[in-house]
Subunit: 371 residues, 5 copies
């Protein structure tokens, strides 16, 4: 997660003392301007336009055709406020939309359903293309971005922090009328958006899974401090991912049991399907956490193994040459009375003894399994 | 688990944007063609045929005799789609059948029950034959394969990813009319298939148990980095196994309480029995996880012990020979005024002092317990 | 947490044997005197005064205007007792107010609601200003202080251990009539106070998050024992924080479902919002605990890495120079019969052999990756 | 647990494909033949006979006196089958009796209650006699054996894997008419048997507790690799014990709430008492697991401490003698122009400097706390 | 916990085979004789006498005044039995009173309530007086002692293992009529006794907290093996404390909801208060467990740090002096043809090179941060 998403408290700090329901954006304003995308559709007709003016979007509230108003960029509280007021959103709800780093949740109002989710986007799209490759993908933290959905009787509002192709496939389905998406109500569209968010978690998991496998190979091969930093970063990513996806299960369980006119009962098997996927995501996150934790142990053991190997070399060299040097030192002494020095076969004998001793020590080390 | 089953997200990635209910196979197509096996049976008659044509299989839906249609290979979505449509399977259900790496679950429709399980197959069948042997079985990851069962009023459909002898014993029981299998309805047959899957987990646990015992011996004997990699692989296998078997308990608990005409209440004690086995599998998985975790600690300690042993050798050698070499160095100095050099008994005295000092140090080390 | 808050038992020890309901302050009396702040407000009027006399405050109980009586300093049991008696507080409740280090809780009486929370205040206000800076903020333990709220039909009593600007923003909102705070009853004021306390936890989390990031950089850079002490202190802070904030979730869940005339049902969405924040605080505390735990592993690995690096240097030096010194020692021996000594090319040859051997060893170490 | 009980899957593997309810014994047949013990009793009369013929035992089913038929040895499926059929046991129940390594459970049939438990027997009875002694008891894994009880209207059937004196005290109580055992129905007898099994867990816990204390002393005294293996074995024993005793709590909770004519309500306080003991067993198992886990840490730290001690010795010796040897080496050089060599007071001066330097280093090490 | 309380199985072993309800004391009989203390009280009168004869105590059962009979010492089963029979205690209850190391629990009989708790007493009272001092308190294990309370219509029986001043403050309150204790029924007295036990846990926690802080200082200062043993002992104390206090929460929750004439509903807020304290004790125990666990990591890191420091010294010395000694050795060789030996400036040059090399290495080490 990027530094900003790691510190969800910044906006909280600035919020302290504000009355609840204040629509104030607290993040850093991104470079891109706020854009409104509009899709108006019915069973046999679809109209999609980007960069729609705010008034055009607002006018679609009361049209008979269903409409999906997608706002990418939430750093213009004034516009968000106007949309909110026009569609009758509760003040707290308007605050939640611009106040990023919400915990995923569902809220049900009389004639609308509000869903907040966090998408996790891979830092660079190239990261997943190399999956299965030999070199580990470059480690950059995941980025969490808030997605807010408001489902009304004939419309869906969706808000994203910045432009992102996440929902493009759904727009494609709408445009080509694939499946039942155009014949169903806005609740089905909202389900489709939620489903896309849940499915996108699998991409992140695959990315992390590849990273973990590359790490495992590297740990067993050559555990550098770098590896440990990457393991730690992966652990953090999983911790964050767990925090962001854990509540999604509750969101989907709640959506399945929802009893409100804007959310059809016919959606139940579909939401149940998404619920199963969310549970599977959690299972996989937990599994990967276990595996990363094992990786940390593995890397400690690999380090100890290396240390043992290093020390074996030093010990073998020291154990062989310290005694030999001592013997050489003995006969380098300058005592006048050292009878061995005069014996001609002493020098070869010393060599023989030295080589024999060294060979004996090498045999001893081999028996100990150090060689 | 094989690399493919570790990355359940690949199919998810390709699925993003598809409307739900799309019957598209996402795995790698195996070499074997899709095969349909058919067993048609009643209390006093059984007819079993392999490699049945699709039409023949479909025609059995409305026959009075009970029939079991087993499809091995799910990489032909067209055939799966035709079977699904013919037997009236919900589109999401058809998608789940070909979309492998589902989480185990039960789904109840009006007149059918859908069960998904994951079998865990041992990498090589020889792995279990050597149980109790001295050499550790070769470490290959487990393979998870999806088994889908659909139980209708008079028929059972079963789908497997590839041909596998897992269900052969059930076919044998049907053929020889052992037990009550032929006199009971298709729900009993489905129970028998689920039971076989649950029992197969015990095989995997035994395999892992043997591997763990071999690892334990090896850790205490000679902890190589290899051992640590195997411990890690076993930990991963257990993590995956836990993920695959944990939901099986819920599946069986749900099957026990099922209230639908296609699932007889008389099955309850049998399903309860399978439930008990599933709980036992989970207990054993947890126990083995604990044991593997202890093994990791044990291997760290063994490494530290070795390090201590290595360092003791170096320290003993260094502590004895460094001072001796220093003394030899002293009397190797070339000062003109070194009165000791002229004394005839100094050389033997130095030897005596050196041997005495070394002996004293050895005694000191023995007292410290280093020898 | 400061030493005093770490030992919540001191007051308990002194309390043993006292009858329940004894209003005795057990902490160290702070330097500041007990101060009473009074805000009397209605929809279109507000009157705020500091340093109010006790009698003035008491007289506001029966006035029609709503009043907020804030007592900073609880070390004057006599005054607390008089307030308690005057407002009809249960003896156990009076005891809880002065008896700091209570577990956060809600208690409902006939016509009042009693809420205890623990605020966590940053040791020095400068600590958060530097967030994002490069130097780690100085490590001082967090301080827990008890906040007690009593909500009556027309008044709110609040008690704090010592003067603290925590509630200043709420007073500002009252004074300027921002939001609905002046038009709502005392329950809304109490909610606003609780909300401020919950929001203040995010400040602490941000502070700890910054500290953790600085620690992570330091661990990977240069893991000194100092770092480890700071990691440990952070772990303790998180342990304490978890202990203080865990019950807050229950407090808010209970406040949401409260069924008493002094707590309006209209507050529910607001309390729900605060509840969501409390859950988010817990999620973040758990995440940070996980991250700190990973940091501890990371620092162990970094230490082992350093050790490996140190030992590599010693081993390389030892392995190269011990054999060389031995060879030099050989030709320093004083045997009379050493034919090599007379050969003129032996000395250069020995140099060549030595340099060749050292170069070979260096190549060996490079191949091993030690250089 | 013995190797056989660690691999509960062996029987499962052989069971695959068998119809449920097959009474086939899968363990290794022990040397001892199957023996039937019979106690027939009423309030004022008792008759106990060992080695009873099967027919005699069967004939007691319909006698007015209560009877306890104890079968030690379950490796004769034919006899078990005859008993089962005669007493009207469900086929699955018969299978469970001979199919060892069941999970502890209760099953209620119309007129009988079936209880399975696992006893944990100490490897050698001498192990507990030495409790509190200084030498650690020899480490042998625990052995789990299945005990099955069937309680009917006037009889109790009990099955044990092999002859074991576990139930001897109950027979004694029956024989001497102590307590209410003879005046109560067979359900009270069954309770007494269950109670004996639960109490026997305390013996195992005491045994393990003694082993843990001995280990702790040994770890602090001299942590050998042997100790670590024993710690690991103890951990495994506790893991297994937890697995076997965890379900016992549910068994007893279920027995307490049992609503069937063969299990009197008057037993409730007694079963509750046994339930309390089972919970206490679980508490103690968890505590011992925590303690063993701490022991593992303790042993790692002890190893590191030893390493530090070893390295200190080497470092002190090396730091003192390497410079001294260097100085000696300097004046052992054969340069023609070395003016110091001619000065008569240089040799004593070198000695003085050497001793002074060594003393200084020793002082430095003492200040560092290394001596 | 003392050795006896760590082995709760001893009494169980001796109990095996005894009929339930046998009043047999299994602990070691303490030196002090069994003493009976009697307090007879009503709203305006109190009579307290120590060392009361058994008959006197028994006679108070049917008096109109309330009476508190406190028995310190339970090693005289005959007397306990007589009291039990006289007051109509259930045999299992009588057994529980003398059978120490019960799990804390409540049992409700027709006209009496039975409560068992475990007090944890500090090994030496001086241990807590020094709290905050610099030297760590001496480490002695905690001692658990069983307290049994039986509350009847007009009397309270309390049993303690040995004389202990724990309940003295309650007696004082009774004697001086402080609070409502004399005007309330025996249930209030029982509550007061339970409250004293719960409060006493805070003393133990404070003691442990002080010990942990002293340990932390010591670990960062000088981690000796001794420290590790104390950490381990503290961990064990916390494990035991958790085991003894965990059920207390359930005891108090049950007491709060109790629906029996001998336990007045008016006690609810008081019991709730004690419940809150018990939950706080559990929170603190868990926090301290976390902190001790972090301490163990801290001590491992401190040990590794020391090792690094030790190895740095050795490596610096070795890296400097091994090459120097080698150079000295070169010019100590006795080759006849060594032209350098005749050059007068070689000797000073060698010195210069040596000092330069050493200085270079020192600079290198300083840049690496090793100096």
């Amino acid at each position: 997660l990027s530094r900003s998403s790691r510190s969800p408290s910044r906006s909280h700090r600035q919020r302290i003392g504000l009355p609840p329901g204040s629509v104030v954006y607290h993040g850093e304003a991104p470079a891109e301007p706020v854009q409104i995308h509009l899709v108006s559709y019915s069973a046999d007709h679809v109209e999609s336009s980007d960069h729609v003016a705010l008034e055009t979007a607002l006018s679609h509230r009361d049209r008979p055709a269903r409409s999906w108003i997608h706002v990418s960029g939430i750093h213009d509280p004034e516009r968000i406020g106007r949309i909110g007021t026009h569609f009758g959103l509760h003040p707290l709800l308007q605050e939640d939309i611009v106040h990023t780093s919400q915990r995923p949740k569902v809220e049900v109002y009389d004639d609308m359903v509000y869903v907040v989710l966090q998408t996790l986007t891979l830092p660079s799209p190239s990261g997943t293309d190399r999956s299965g490759g030999d070199t580990p993908p470059p480690v950059q933290p995941l980025r969490a971005e808030q997605v807010s959905l408001v489902v009304g009787p004939t419309w869906v509002l969706s808000f994203q922090e910045r432009p992102d192709p996440l929902f493009a496939p759904v727009r494609e389905r709408l445009r080509h009328g694939r499946g039942r998406i155009r014949t169903q109500g806005p609740d089905y569209l909202a389900y489709a958006l939620v489903d896309v968010v849940v499915d996108s978690y699998f991409l992140v998991l695959e990315h992390l899974g590849n990273r973990i496998e590359a790490l495992e190979d590297e740990v067993l091969d050559d555990p550098s401090p770098d590896v440990q930093a990457t393991i730690n970063e992966t652990r953090r990513d999983l911790v964050s991912m767990r925090r962001q996806t854990w509540p999604v299960r509750d969101v989907l369980a709640r959506l399945e049991r929802l009893d409100t006119p804007v959310w059809s009962d016919d959606l139940r098997p579909f939401v149940r399907d998404a619920y199963d996927h969310a549970v599977q995501v959690l299972d996989l996150v937990e599994s990967q956490r276990d595996i990363v934790s094992g990786l940390s142990d593995l890397s400690m053991t690999a380090l100890s193994n290396r240390m043992n190997e290093i020390m074996k070399v030093l010990t073998i060299i020291g154990t062989i040459f310290l005694p030999l040097t001592f013997i050489a030192g003995i006969y380098g002494m300058n005592f006048e009375y050292m009878p061995e020095l005069q014996i001609w076969w002493m020098y070869p004998l010393v060599w023989v003894l030295m080589i024999g001793g060294a060979a004996g020590l090498l045999g001893f080390f081999r028996r100990k399994g150090w060689l």
